[in-house]
């Protein structure tokens, strides 16, 4: 057996694969072979590193050099310079924008500095398609430990003590969920892994499944042991082909090694896992809808109680847990409940993975301890707002989360705090907005999403949200009234109070939170008929500033409706009655002579 002295870790997540990381891996392998170092240097395809903004990522170990935005053609230089001669390729290092300084080690990068990786611990570190690598980082040790050393009762006590709560959005204590399922007697019980990640922009579950599929399988088996379930289902979106593939490979490998299947570790415990594909309906992330979808029924929620722990899949006791929740389980068992409970805030333990997106410098996946302030995530990890613009709001919790203004930035993030300020944890979406975002339009955008994704079962969600959406549309078109605002203020909370499932119960959040924190912006739309952020087309006009216009005719030539008049070298003018507000003139003008307001 040879020991590789150097490992080149290349991100094989969906994002980096889209940027040719597969080709990069092939090129690196070829270069290593050409250099005659095939038995010295190993090229490993790993899961996502999280820093997707700068992908594809290559990490050189043990040197701890972190390359960003690597192209397949860079393989030759990396091998010739770094691998052979030990000289890092400095042009591929990450440049810290605030200090304009090259950083070679990932832990020195602000993006990684404040992160604590539990759920993502193996993502970007091991080859997800090789069970040996998972085993070498203590994989399946936790399963072995619970099966041979713990009773299901003790396991549940441990989970309860750890304080782990559901990472899919609900925040229900995982130990309690397992306990409920374990207490309900039945001939057969099920574990369901909810991998129907649907929040726009959120991809932590996909990353875990792509980067560390075995941890999910192991945790599902552990949950099976705790609850007395013999079978597990993974409900995953069919749009996640890479994750599906890696899960299939992982299940096959685990079955082969006897880590899944009959009599695991020679005990009486047996556990099998089946993959079920979802068609991508957002509402199927709701556990009862998800269960119906697995059963082949229409994916729509049913009233709770009864909870799945009592009557779930095929009417049997079922525990539905989210991917990220599962990814936390093996470390909790190996390191102890106290260790986990020592991380995070008083009521929310451990870490949470957020998908940081929007108008922020460092877009990507970040795992941070609960209790960290939003400001730290956005400004330290995220590197602040793009292009030096002004922060306006952050929308957390996916489409039915709320928008949090500047004043809420120092809120320590946990389930309760986010709910208290009108948003929610959700599955961890985090979209940053700046001064150019219109909050009315943002609310409308999210409402449109929830209206589209509503299953249509209950009245408040089906009709109520539609009415909210229509009202918002009127407002962005300048046809809103103050009465409309009052109606929304009244209807929103009733929808939250009466809707059947979590989707409907949270869908008015974007409207209610923006009305609460950005009331003036609503009033500007309704009373002044203006969109302060300059987004709502119907409320904008384009003007030519006479003192800046030099009469170059560039605007006149691009105007699709020919509503700009003016001779060469004379000041131009826009005929407001005919302008369709397409903005072409604004883009064409090289002298900043055209403004919108």
């Amino acid at each position: 057996m040879s020991t590789y002295r150097m490992h080149l870790l290349v991100c094989g997540g969906t994002g980096c694969q889209a940027s040719e990381s597969k080709q990069l891996v092939e090129n690196l392998q070829a270069q290593v072979l050409m250099a005659g170092m095939g038995n010295e240097v190993q090229v490993v395809t790993t899961g996502c590193f999280g820093f997707c903004e700068k992908g594809p990522i290559v990490k050189v170990l043990p040197d701890n050099i972190f390359y960003v935005e690597v192209k397949p053609d860079d393989a030759e230089e990396i091998v010739n310079e770094h691998v052979m001669k030990g000289r890092p390729v400095s042009r591929l290092l990450f440049t810290e924008p605030s200090r304009n300084e090259k950083i070679s080690e990932h832990k020195e990068m602000p993006f990684y500095k404040k992160q604590v990786r539990i759920a993502l611990r193996n993502c970007g570190f091991i080859d997800p398609e090789n069970i040996d690598e998972y085993i070498s980082v203590d994989g399946y040790q936790a399963l072995g430990k619970v099966l041979t050393e713990m009773t299901p009762e003790a396991l549940i006590v441990l989970m309860k003590k750890s304080g782990l709560r559901g990472r899919g959005g609900g925040g229900f204590p995982t130990g309690l969920k397992w306990e409920a399922a374990s207490k309900n007697q039945a001939d057969v019980k099920y574990i369901v892994c909810n991998a129907d990640e649907g929040d726009p922009g959120a991809f932590m579950d996909r990353s875990i499944l792509e980067g560390d599929p075995h941890t999910v399988l192991e945790a599902m088996a552990i949950a099976g042991y705790a609850t007395g379930a013999r079978y597990g289902y993974i409900y995953i979106r069919a749009e996640y082909p890479l994750a599906v593939h890696r899960l299939e490979v992982a299940i096959e490998q685990a079955m082969e090694m006897g880590l899944l299947g009959e009599n695991i570790f020679g005990t009486d415990f047996s556990f099998d896992i089946v993959i079920k594909y979802g068609a991508g309906a957002f509402v199927c992330g709701e556990e009862t809808a998800l269960i119906h979808s697995i059963e082949g029924e229409r994916g729509e929620p049913t009233n709770k109680p009864p909870f799945p722990a009592e009557s779930g899949l095929w009417g049997k006791p079922t525990s539905v847990n989210n991917v990220e929740t599962f990814a936390n389980v093996p470390p909790i068992i190996l390191n102890g409940a106290e260790w986990f409970a020592s991380i995070g805030s008083e009521k929310s333990k451990g870490t949470k993975v957020f998908a940081l997106a929007g108008k922020v410098n460092n877009v990507g996946l970040v795992e941070v301890p609960m209790g960290i302030a939003l400001r730290e995530i956005i400004f330290d990890i995220g590197g602040g707002i793009k292009d030096g613009k002004k922060y306006k709001a952050v929308q957390t919790g996916g489409p039915s989360g709320g928008c949090i203004p500047e004043a809420g930035l120092d809120t320590p993030i946990d389930y309760e705090n986010l709910t208290r300020i009108g948003s929610m944890m959700g599955s961890g979406g985090m979209i940053v907005m700046d001064e150019d975002d219109c909050m009315v339009n943002v609310a409308k955008f999210y409402l449109e999403f929830t209206c589209d994704e509503s299953c249509g079962k209950c009245t408040p969600c089906r009709v109520g949200n539609r009415r909210l959406y229509e009202t918002l549309t009127r407002i962005t078109e300048g046809k809103g009234t103050m009465e409309d605002l009052e109606t929304m203020k009244e209807l929103g909370p009733i929808i939250k109070d009466t809707a059947l499932c979590g989707l409907g119960q949270t869908s008015p959040n974007p409207v209610l939170s923006t009305m609460k924190y950005f009331w003036d912006e609503y009033v500007a739309h309704v009373v002044d008929k203006k969109c302060p952020a300059g987004v709502c087309t119907a409320l904008l006009s384009y003007y030519i500033l006479p003192d800046k216009c030099i009469g170059c005719t560039a605007c006149k030539r691009v105007c699709p409706v020919s509503c700009i008049s003016g001779e060469v070298k004379k000041i131009h003018e826009i005929d407001q009655s005919r302008c369709i507000k397409c903005g072409a003139c604004h883009t064409a003008c090289k002298f900043s002579a055209i403004v919108k307001k």
Binding site: V463, G464, L491, D497, L500
Partner: protein
């Protein structure tokens, strides 16, 4: 059963722990309005989807409001049904539904019979609606002869879906699409006529609004009545006479046979006859067929074929068993065939000018009357089928004071009937009637005790073994197509062994038919109709079909032998294997 103590509006009460809040409230005499909820009790049809969000109540310690119809009580639960929060939420749900509902109550099929209309009135929704916006617009489905679909009026209560999928196991109607565009529809938005729908009409029977109603032929019937060229004959099914009174506010279960015949005459029908005559005729033929199969080693069990929804069901679903149902036409079709041949000839009426109108508790009968094989020489046995509800509407339209009408008799000769034919209206009745005749034919003895109580009742599947001479006749009864499916599957697999089986598509039999006055979810009404059916039977002097003298005269003068050639030509039919999509 465990008892738990709860508080509803400060009132303490002890109820079984399997109760929902709604059931407990009923016990406490607290009224919680509902819309989508439905529980047909012994008929075992429950819609508990909690989709409308009208029955919302406050439960102490709960973050949001609870739907009382689908929330089980727990020990010590503190419930408040009438807080401003709950009342407002309830009202908002109704207002939101109304904001997507056509405002045409005055000219609506369900005017004054609409649950949504009543709810809006009860909750005091008046004047302008608080919420307004886009409204659903769907193409109206008039493709079938039976069911009119106007989804603009659908409130997504899903009751029809429960009936169609869970009770009847037909799977025609289900929710399609998402969000505001969700609509209840057959697969691929097919029109009803192209689906496996049996037209049992149970979806119509439970629809709270006018999203699902019957395809009405009231106008056409008035036209033929008013056409001096036409000789219009009307016949009424057994289940109509025990339900029609409800259309006029009479107590459910009131028998209004005499008033009904008076009203039909006043409306201008040329002859008022009784489908019961056809039912007695059906028994003669069906009992003959049964005896024939028994004695000649024919295939058993024999299945009744009176119910057109059931016939269409097995044509789609049990194509391999098409040879076991009786080949007998249904009673009103037999009646039509006899009226246009025997009666027309006897009274010298041109059959082409004769119009037969059936008053039926049923929507499938509308479809049935248009089946090509049930028309002779280009003329349908039956030309028009109106439901009990439509008849009620026509009587009101005629300005007849129904409640105070004097009784009158059916016309003869096609108006005579026995108790055996009356019980066709309730589940188990056809087979009981057949047994009364078959018993006497097989044993040659007089049957003294004509009531077979083992065949009665509302259990979905019932069976009884009746000693007929030396033979132990094993009989099965099923009502509701879901139960029928179970029975048929047991026959197919060889698990079940019966001599004869009666199947009715509608829960309760014809008394619970899709054309009956709306029961608005009260299954007690159906029970009372059933009791009335058996009362009517008990009050008859003749209770066996073969004692019907006019039927016997019909054979003597026209048909010849029982189950003979002429009878086959006019009174029997065949079945067609139909697509399964």
């Amino acid at each position: 059963m465990r008892l738990v103590t709860i508080h509803i509006n400060d009132k303490e009460l002890t109820v079984p722990d399997h109760y929902t809040i709604l059931e407990a409230a009923k016990e406490a005499n607290v009224n919680i309005p509902t819309l989508c909820h439905m529980d047909l009790g012994d008929l075992k049809a429950v819609n508990q989807v909690a989709s409308c969000r009208v029955c919302m109540v406050e439960v102490a310690g709960r973050r949001n409001l609870a739907p009382s119809c689908a929330t089980k009580i727990t020990d010590g639960m503190v419930i408040r049904t009438n807080t401003p929060r709950a009342v407002k939420a309830r009202r908002t749900s109704v207002e939101l539904l109304l904001s997507d509902h056509p405002f045409e109550c005055l000219i609506c099929e369900k005017n004054q019979k609409c649950d949504l209309q009543k709810l809006a009135a009860d909750l005091g929704v008046r004047g302008q609606l608080k919420y307004q916006g886009s409204m659903s617009t769907y193409e109206k489905d008039v493709s079938s002869k039976s069911i009119y679909r106007n989804l603009d009026k659908c409130i997504l209560c899903r009751r029809c879906e429960t009936m169609c999928n869970e009770v009847q196991t037909c799977g025609i109607l289900s929710a399609v699409g998402r969000g505001f565009e969700t609509v209840i529809s057959p697969a691929f938005s097919l029109p009803m006529s192209e689906t496996m729908c049996t037209f049992c009409g149970q979806c119509v029977a439970v629809c709270p609004t006018a999203a699902l109603t019957e395809i009405s032929c009231i106008r056409e019937v008035w036209d033929v009545i008013n056409d001096p060229e036409k000789f219009v004959v009307v016949q009424t099914a057994p289940a109509v006479r025990v339900a029609l009174g409800e259309e006029f506010g009479m107590e459910p279960g009131t028998i209004v046979t005499g008033k009904m015949t008076s009203a039909l005459r006043m409306m201008g029908f040329d002859r008022v006859f009784d489908t019961d005559f056809g039912a007695d005729l059906t028994i003669i033929e069906e009992a003959s067929e049964f005896v024939h199969r028994l004695q000649h080693g024919g295939r058993l069990p024999i299945l009744t074929s009176c119910c057109p929804a059931w016939v269409k069901f097995f044509e789609h679903q049990f194509q391999d068993l098409l040879d076991i149902p009786s080949t007998c036409k249904s009673p009103h079709e037999m009646f039509g065939a006899v009226a246009k041949t025997y009666y027309a000839k006897k009274y010298n009426i041109d059959p082409a000018k004769m119009v037969v109108v059936s008053v039926m508790p049923c929507l499938a009968k509308k479809y049935e009357s248009a089946r090509p094989e049930l028309t002779g020489e280009g003329v349908s046995n039956v030309d028009y089928v109106v439901t009990t509800r439509e008849l009620g509407m026509m009587i009101r339209e005629s300005g007849i004071n129904f409640v105070d009408l004097e009784d009158s008799q059916f016309d003869n000769p096609l108006g005579e009937s026995t108790g055996a034919s009356v019980i066709f209206g309730a589940t188990g009745g056809v087979i009981e009637a057949a047994l009364r005749t078959a018993y006497e034919w097989l044993t040659g003895e007089t049957l003294e005790q004509v009531e077979f109580h083992a065949l009665r009742g509302l259990d979905g599947i019932r069976e009884a073994t009746v000693k007929v001479g030396d033979l132990e006749v094993k009989i099965g009864v099923a009502h509701g197509l879901g139960n029928a499916r179970k029975l048929l599957e047991a026959i197919r697999s060889g698990e079940a062994n019966y001599h004869a089986i009666e199947i009715m598509a509608c829960p309760g039999g014809c008394v619970g038919g899709g054309g009956q006055p709306y029961h608005h979810g009260d299954s007690e009404i159906i029970k009372k109709r059933t009791e009335a059916i058996y009362r009517e039977d008990a009050g008859k002097q003749k209770r066996k079909s073969h004692e019907n003298e006019q039927v016997m005269t019909l054979y003597k003068e026209f048909l010849g032998e029982f189950y003979g050639d002429k009878a086959h030509e006019l009174l029997h039919t065949h079945y067609t294997a139909r697509e399964k999509i």
